[in-house]
Structures are given as structure tokens and as C-alpha cells.
């Protein structure tokens, strides 16, 4: 589609980039059925094609307020990109033009406060865990919608007993995940141990940057990203062969580091190598984990594939491991969590969750498994079933089958484990 940049925007690099991205769109509408909000609302303005049109209007200097409202409703799940035959980079378009939009139609004070709160608390595990602790304590007086989001405190998970191995991988629990669901990375650590891989917990890493990025705080996002690179790089230098990130949204974000730092010569190269080192735990198990003994559960489970997860990977793994899955007819793609979306667009988010939950529960599964902390918390607050990360079930099934740790290959082969990470990184 043609775009005629408004005079005032012709000098802006972001506007020109936006124009270039929009010109790839031919307005065919193939993206419509892929979009969760369009499925729900049936309004062109809440479809990828309509949002691209709204951005086009902003670039042409005749829009803003309405564009922002509909772009705020976008989950950024990017299901439309997979459906687009013209190769429109929708996510990039939204990110590129976010600043222009903000300039044309500033947010109200209430909206700004909410976004500031999310930015200031959630990405920092120390702050976030304190807030969660307080929130649990005052749960009875919290609004019901917020109270529902609070997961019940996890049972004090036993730190795994790990063994030294020659192979090592960096294990990066996300900020929210490490607080709300520490069992996830502990399970991943045990599974690594059984594979003969020693998990290294990177000290002091917090948010991957996604929360800042999606809330439009580019500077804060880049600060956080550079900090992470500084922390992780030495580990890779020291021989860690990959980054394992249990939360799929964080993994996707780290894979996008090179794009975000492309113009920063000091970090571009390291960003690329770190992104290349990200390994999906499902891929790790698919390539190396099939040999471990496993006792599949008796009842079928339902898998929710997060929008940020490579489609089909976890399902493929489970099928190979003989873990029964329930069918999910008419299952919408997105559960409505989408990072801070659940807090910012509670009505739509809950509608999407209701649809997704009923599709997941349709086959009467024993529990729901997913690969991202955001989806996990969100779905858990809308389903009677247990919702957790899939790696926890794998860990459990391996434990039941009596899988032992891989052969220690480094130092004292005396069976003395060493205590691994603390449950919560600070």
C-alpha cells in the first residue's frame, strides 16, 4: 500500500522505516483470521490489516487517538506475521512507529501511572517478589480481578541437588517467572543434570527487556539488554554452550537483541552471538532427551502453545515421549496474557482467556501445560485446572521413572552434589 508521509514526518527515520514496512502490505486480509482480537470483535480496526491502516493514517498526519486505542488492544502475538504471504513485519512496524504515535497522542495520567508501575516493579525480581508477598498478605482486600492473578505461593521447592558436568549451559529464569513460579527453572535444572549438563544460574540478571520494550520505554529496554549481555557474555566465553530460557517470551526477546542493538557497535556482535546461543528447552530434549527413562502420566494433558513459542515443538516432544495430548478443536491462538496486556486490557484479555480455557478444557485434560510464565499465570486464574510449565511435568515423569543424573565428569566423582541456585534470584 502506498503511504504519503506527512510533511512534518518526512525527516523522521522511524516514519520512513514505517512507510517501507507498510508498503509490503497489499491489503489482502489473509491476516484477519489469525488475529485474536479480530476473532473476538469482528472490527477491521482490531485486525492487523486495520491497525496497519491506522498506522498509515498516523504517518500521513491524520490520526492518532483512535489508532492508539486499537494498537493498545493488539496483543503483539504476531500470529498475523505467520499468516502474511506478503511478508509484512507487523511487530517491527508497531515497534518502529510506537514513538511517533506517542508523540501524536499522549496518554492520560491514569494510563501513564499504570504503565510506570508495571515498568518499575515487574522487571525487578527483588521489588516484584516483595510486592507479590505484600499482595498475598492483603489478598482479601484486593480487587477480585487482581487477586485472581496472584498464584498461590508455590510449595517451598527443594533446591535440586546438582552435579558437576563438563557440559554447561546458562539457565536464565525470567524476572516474573523466578518470582511467581520458581519450580519451573528448578525442574529445568534437574532435567539438565540428568542430561549431563550443568546449569549455570546467571547471577543478578533480571528482565530480558521485553516489558520495557512493549511498554514503549526503549531506553530502559536497551539499558537492561546491555546489562544482560555484560552478565552473560563471560559465561559464554567460559564455555557455556547455550542459553536456556524457560519462558518463551523472554527467549524470543533475547533472540531479537541483535535487531535492537544493530546500530550499537560496542554490543552488536555480542548480541548476535548471544541470540544464536539461545536454545529452546524443547529442542534440547528433542535432540538429546529422548533416551532418558520416563513414566508418562496416565491422563492426557492439554498444551497451550504461547504465541512466542515455536509452534508444534513441545507437542512434537510430548508425542515422541508418549505423553497423551487432548485434541483442541477451534482453539484460538492466544490466551490473552501477552505480557502486561492482561493488566492493561483486562476485559479483552479475560474474554480471550475464557475462549482459550474452554478450548483447552474441552478434552478433559488432567492439567494444562505451557511454555511461558505470562500465559501460565493468566490461564491459571481462568481455569479450574492446574497450569504449569511443561518442563515440570517432564521432570516429574523422569523422577518417577527413576532417571538419575548424568555421569559426573568434572572434579570429584563422589556423588556429593552441590547445592545449586537459590530459589529466587535477586
Amino acid at each position: 500500500m502506498e503511504v504519503h508521509l506527512s510533511h512534518s514526518l518526512q525527516g523522521e527515520a522511524a516514519a520512513r522505516e514505517g512507510e517501507r514496512l507498510i508498503r509490503a502490505c497489499v491489503h489482502c486480509g489473509f491476516c484477519l483470521p489469525a488475529c485474536p482480537t479480530y476473532q473476538l470483535l469482528g472490527d477491521e480496526l482490531d485486525s492487523p490489516r486495520g491497525r496497519i491502516y491506522l498506522i498509515k493514517e498516523v504517518l500521513e498526519g491524520r490520526g492518532g487517538v483512535i489508532a492508539r486505542a486499537h494498537l493498545d488492544r493488539c496483543l503483539l502475538c504476531r500470529a498475523c506475521e505467520r499468516a502474511c504471504p506478503s511478508g509484512v513485519e507487523y511487530g517491527r512496524l508497531v515497534a518502529t512507529t510506537r514513538g511517533l504515535l506517542a508523540a501524536q497522542s499522549p496518554r492520560g495520567p491514569r494510563d501513564r501511572l499504570l504503565r510506570w508501575l508495571i515498568r518499575t516493579i515487574v522487571p525487578y525480581p527483588a521489588r516484584f517478589s516483595r510486592v507479590v508477598a505484600v499482595a498475598r498478605w492483603i489478598r482479601p482486600v484486593l480487587p477480585a480481578s487482581l487477586a485472581a492473578k496472584l498464584p498461590t505461593p508455590p510449595p517451598a521447592a527443594l533446591p535440586p541437588v546438582l552435579h558437576p558436568h563438563r557440559r554447561r549451559m546458562l539457565l536464565v529464569p525470567g524476572c516474573a517467572q523466578s518470582v511467581l513460579s520458581p519450580a519451573t527453572h528448578l525442574s529445568l535444572a534437574r532435567v539438565c543434570d540428568r542430561l549431563g549438563i550443568e546449569p549455570i544460574f546467571s547471577p543478578g540478571s533480571g528482565c530480558c527487556g521485553a516489558l520495557f520494550h512493549h511498554l514503549g520505554s526503549e531506553e530502559a529496554a536497551l539499558r537492561q539488554i546491555r546489562r544482560n549481555i555484560d552478565l552473560w557474555w563471560p559465561e559464554l566465553q567460559a564455555g557455556a554452550e547455550a542459553l536456556l530460557i524457560p519462558a518463551s517470551a523472554c527467549a524470543l526477546m533475547v533472540r531479537e537483541y541483535p535487531d535492537l542493538l544493530a546500530r550499537d557497535p560496542a554490543y552488536a556482535d555480542r548480541a548476535r552471538r548471544i541470540a544464536d546461543a539461545v536454545k529452546d528447552p524443547a529442542d534440547l530434549l528433542l535432540s538429546e532427551g529422548l533416551r532418558l527413562p520416563i513414566a508418562p502420566p496416565g491422563r492426557a494433558i492439554a498444551i497451550h502453545c504461547p504465541c512466542t513459542q515455536q509452534p508444534g515443538a513441545v507437542e512434537a516432544l510430548f508425542r515422541k515421549l508418549g505423553i497423551p495430548l487432548v485434541p483442541q478443536p477451534d482453539s484460538p491462538a492466544c490466551c490473552g496474557a501477552a505480557g502486561a496486556y492482561a493488566l492493561l486490557q483486562p476485559r479483552l484479555s479475560n474474554q480471550l482467556r475464557a475462549r482459550k480455557a474452554s478450548a483447552l478444557e474441552a478434552g478433559a485434560p488432567a492439567e494444562i501445560l505451557t511454555a511461558n510464565i505470562g500465559c501460565q499465570i493468566h490461564l491459571a486464574s481462568g481455569s479450574q485446572l492446574r497450569v504449569r510449565h511443561w518442563i515440570e511435568l517432564i521432570d516429574e515423569c523422569q523422577t518417577q521413572a527413576g532417571a538419575s543424573h548424568g555421569v559426573p565428569t568434572r572434579g570429584e566423582a563422589n556423588g556429593h552434589g552441590r547445592e545449586a541456585c537459590p530459589a529466587v534470584q535477586t
Binding site: 500500500m1 502506498e2 503511504v3 504519503h4 508498503r23 509490503a24 502490505c25 497489499v26 491489503h27 489482502c28 486480509g29 489473509f30 491476516c31 484477519l32 483470521p33 479480530y38 470483535l41 469482528g42 472490527d43 477491521e44 480496526l45 490489516r49 486495520g50 491502516y53 491506522l54 493514517e57 491524520r62 490520526g63 492518532g64 487517538v65 483512535i66 489508532a67 499468516a83 502474511c84 504471504p85 506478503s86 511478508g87 478443536p329 477451534d330
Partner: protein
């Protein structure tokens, strides 16, 4: 006074941001009887809970459908969710003489859902329920906003499917399919929408509920269903449809055959059909289209080939394997220098995916494209393609060809860049020349995309005044006030005269009384 060319005429309209002061398609209401503000107030009062968009920023994304060359901001957009709401909206609009433009997913390629400046866009996208699947009668009763793909998915547990599969089947709605009589990749064997819909419930412009067709195979009286299907939203608003389902063939296999020239591929098509092969689909792509599709799908198409034939057979395994073997032999004899037959369902779908995405994939090669839709007798394929290539050179615009070869339904895709001042105009002129060529070769101006606004001028090539007059009389029998989708599908008689494009039949001009300039 000089006669403006079609292209410049449209440019003038576009520059004014309107459809012109005089209607050029089917006559309309003559304009609403009260102010826009009053219309909105009355509509809000009539359907309180229904989203009604009226801010210019909200309206602009509705200004066009899949054909972006034509744009018009409507008065308002309504997104109702119940038939009662649609009925109320129609009642208000008829009383106030407000044009109503029904819209499905907006994937149409002829501007059938182009808004009217003083009209209401009636979006039917929230009607997305599959009301019933009846496996014994092999029917599905659906709301008009349901997509083709959704019907086939819902009926596949019964071993049944809905056959029409236009390229946009993932997104396009049954309501839109009915409006345009949509075809698809497999209509060579399974027919168009008109062959696969048993019954529709419509609301007339007067808000009256009519059932056309029946759940049986025919209905008493005239075949109103045949008239409604393909009527481009001019005769009624579809609120429900009962479609025919077919048993899913146990096996389908696809041959991809590459040819060193477009001519040899065209000849192969004639040979296959002439020898009694009955493929489920028979499609052709030229080199430009092959490369565009391959870049998106990575289906393994040979990107050096001048033309690619995709030939599918379906049915019982014995029959299919038999046909595939024979067809491969014939294709090789006709000059195919590369053959690949799908050996699994995944492979078949992947090989098809390139073809199905070919139009938008062309979006990778140029910022804009203009998709034509003429049909010609199959025997004229080589000549048509040759002459299209010449026209492409003459107009200096690349043309990718991707089309339903088995049906002789061409889809030349004119690639252009609308940001270059004259390219849209050139593209339109080239498109018109291609349609003239189709009519000259004994064909028609649109095989499955419909006339919309895009081919109003070309209608004058195919029909004479008496037929056009009869079309207008039919419209009047359904919609005497002309509120449904005015300005589409059938040109006004004076428009044909103004365009100077009418046939001259037996030496007599069809409209001697109309002044020409």
C-alpha cells in the same frame, strides 16, 4: 470536449475523494433524505448496543476492500451481531434513503465492498456461527461471516468438506462468496459457489425475510438462488446459508510440472482436458509468479521454469494413482522438463500453498498489484498469454500470470507502484486492454472476482443496452429504492455511452440517442 480516458476519469474521482456526483453503476437512492448527524442519531436509537463507527479516523480503514485502488470513506460503519439489528438498520436506512454496503471480510478484488460517501457499511463479520452440521443430509447451516476454511474444519470430523476454495479461503466469508459467486482452485471439478449452496436466507432492502432455494435440491418456482448468487450485494443481505458438503476424497495428489515455455504449458492443458482427464484442479503460474511464491513458501518450485502447471487428482487411491501416472506421461510428452508428484498430504499442501499465496506474495515484488480476472476459451490460452506479454512490454509494467488454466480463467497480476504518479493509471489502462482481449477471444470480463466498481466500464464490452436494461429491471424488482450497494456491478447506460466502449452491433450504435464526446 475531449473524452477522458477511463484511468484519468478515475484519477479525477480519486482526487476529489468521491465516487463522482453522478452514479455510474446501478442507480442509487438519489441521496439520503436528512443530514449525516440525523442519520447517525436515528441509527443509534434503532440499534443501541451495536458498534457504529463514525469518526473519520475509524472510517478510513474501511475505505477499501482487497482492491485498494478504489477508496471512499463511508458515512458510518455498523457491526451488528443479530439479524434483528440488521433488520432495524435496513429499516432506518430505507426510510432515510441511506445506501447500505454489505461487507464480509473485505477480501474482494473488484471493489464490491467499496463504501458509498453517503452510505453505511454493514459489516457482517460478527455473524460467525456454524449453526448446524447435518452429516446425513450433507449440509451445513452457517451465518454469513463464517469463513470457507471454518466450514471445512467443522465438517471434517464427518469426512465432509465445503468445496469452493478461493485463494483467500482462510479469511473470506460465505456471505462474500455468495455475493461474488466465488470459485477457487478446485472449481474445475467441484463448481463455483452457485453449485454448492442449497439455500440462503436474505433480508431484502425492505427488511423482509426471504428464503431462496431449499434444503432439498431444488425449490418451487423460479431459481432465485441462481439469481442471488453473484449479485454482488445488490439484491439482498445474506443472513444465513445452507451449503452442500461433499465426502472428502480419501486421497488427493498433486503433480507439479515445469515447462520451458508458456506455450507448451498451455498446450498441455488443452491436451489433458481434451483427452478426458478430470483433474480436481489445474493451475498455471508463469515465471514471475513462480519466483514470488517460492520466495514466500519455499515449496521447491523450480524458479527457472517459464511456466508451472499444478494438476491435482482426487478420489479413491486406485483411481488417483492411475490418473497421476497417465497424466505424468502426457505432461512429459507435452514438453514438461520437471515433474514432481506429491507423495504425502504435507507435501501436497506445501506445493499448493505457493499457488494460494501467489497474489499477495507478488506484494514482495512491487508495492502494489492489480489483479485481473478475465476468462477465455481454453484453446486461446497460448495466444492470450503471448498478447498479454506484448501488452506488458508496451505499458512497461510487469505482469505475473497465475491462473485457473483448466477453466480458462486468467489472473494477470499487473505490478505497479502507486506512489509513481502515472503507474496506477497505466495499470488500469493495461488491465482494460487485457479484458478487451478476453472478450475478443470469445471470453468474458470476470470469471470469479465480480464486477464491483472495477469492471463497470468493461461491462460495456460484454453487454449491450438491452441486457443492461434487464439487469436494472431485476435490481428494481428486488430493491425498488436502490439502497443496496448502489453504484456497483451494472453500469448505467449513459456511462457506457460516455466511455465510448459499447459494442457496435451490426453497424448500429447501441445508444444512438446518447450524446458522445
Amino acid at each position: 470536449m475531449t473524452h477522458p480516458s477511463l484511468g484519468s476519469f478515475r484519477r479525477v474521482l480519486a482526487a476529489r475523494g468521491e465516487q463522482g456526483d453522478r452514479p455510474y453503476g446501478t442507480p442509487g437512492t438519489g441521496g439520503p433524505s436528512c443530514s449525516p448527524r440525523e442519520i447517525l442519531r436515528r441509527l443509534r436509537g434503532a440499534v443501541p448496543g451495536c458498534p457504529l463507527l463514525s469518526h473519520p479516523e475509524e472510517l478510513r480503514p474501511y475505505e477499501c476492500d482487497g482492491l485498494t485502488a478504489y477508496r471512499q470513506i463511508p458515512l458510518a460503519v455498523a457491526i451488528p451481531e443479530s439479524v434483528a439489528q440488521v433488520q432495524e438498520i435496513l429499516r432506518v436506512c430505507r426510510t432515510l434513503r441511506v445506501p447500505v454496503i454489505p461487507r464480509g471480510a473485505g477480501t474482494g478484488l473488484s471493489g464490491g465492498a467499496l463504501p458509498n460517501r453517503s452510505g453505511l457499511v454493514l459489516s457482517m463479520t460478527r455473524f460467525r456461527k456454524i449453526l448446524a452440521v447435518d452429516p446425513l443430509n450433507r449440509t451445513a447451516r452457517v451465518e454469513p461471516g463464517v469463513t470457507n476454511r471454518a466450514i471445512s474444519e467443522a465438517t471434517s470430523p464427518f469426512g465432509l468438506f465445503y468445496a469452493p476454495d478461493p485463494s483467500s479461503e482462510v479469511a473470506c466469508t460465505i456471505g462474500g462468496n455468495i455475493a461474488e459467486n466465488a470459485g477457487g482452485l478446485h472449481c474445475l471439478k467441484y463448481g463455483l459457489t452457485v453449485h454448492n449452496v442449497l439455500s440462503v436466507k436474505i433480508l431484502t432492502a425492505e427488511g423482509e425475510w426471504l428464503v431462496l432455494g431449499s434444503e432439498a435440491y431444488d425449490a418451487a418456482g423460479f431459481d432465485l438462488l441462481a439469481l442471488l448468487i453473484g449479485s454482488e450485494g445488490l439484491l439482498g443481505v445474506v443472513v444465513e446459508a445452507t451449503v452442500r458438503l461433499l465426502p472428502r476424497p480419501p486421497l488427493a495428489r498433486l503433480i507439479v510440472a515445469a515447462f520451458p515455455s508458456v506455450e507448451s504449458a498451455s498446450t498441455a492443458v488443452g491436451k489433458l482436458i481434451g483427452e478426458g482427464f478430470a483433474p480436481a484442479g489445474l493451475e498455471m503460474m508463469d515465471n514471475l509468479a513462480i519466483r514470488a511464491a517460492e520466495a514466500f513458501v519455499h515449496a521447491g518450485y523450480p524458479v527457472e521454469a517459464a511456466a508451472l502447471l499444478l494438476c491435482e487428482f482426487d478420489g479413491g487411491p486406485e483411481e488417483v494413482d492411475d490418473q497421476i501416472e497417465l497424466a505424468e506421461k502426457r505432461l512429459r510428452e507435452s514438453g514438461a522438463d520437471f515433474l514432481r508428484s506429491s507423495s504425502s498430504e504435507e507435501e501436497r499442501l506445501l506445493l499448493w500453498k505457493g499457488r494460494k499465496s501467489a497474489f499477495p506474495a507478488a506484494g514482495r515484488m512491487a508495492p502494489d498489484y492489480y489483479c485481473m480476472d478475465g476468462t477465455i476459451p481454453r484453446r486461446s490460452l497460448p495466444e492470450a498469454l503471448l498478447r498479454i506479454a506484448r501488452l506488458s512490454e508496451e505499458f512497461r509494467l510487469p505482469v505475473a500470470n497465475v491462473f485457473h488454466a483448466g477453466d480458462g480463467n486468467l489472473h494477470p497480476l499487473i505490478l505497479y507502484d502507486a506512489s509513481h504518479p502515472h503507474e496506477l493509471q497505466q495499470a488500469e489502462r493495461l488491465g482494460r486492454r487485457i479484458l478487451e482481449l478476453c472478450v475478443e477471444l470469445g471470453g468474458v470480463i470476470t470469471g470469479e472476482h465480480g464486477v464491483g466498481v472495477e469492471k463497470l466500464g468493461s461491462m460495456c464490452l460484454q453487454f449491450r443496452a438491452p441486457e443492461l436494461a434487464q439487469f436494472h429491471r431485476i435490481k428494481e424488482a428486488f430493491d425498488p429504492d436502490g439502497i443496496l450497494n448502489p453504484g456497483k456491478a451494472v453500469p448505467l447506460l449513459h456511462r457506457c455511452a460516455e466511455l465510448g466502449a459499447m459494442h457496435v452491433h451490426q453497424g448500429a450504435l447501441p445508444f444512438p440517442e446518447i450524446e458522445r464526446y
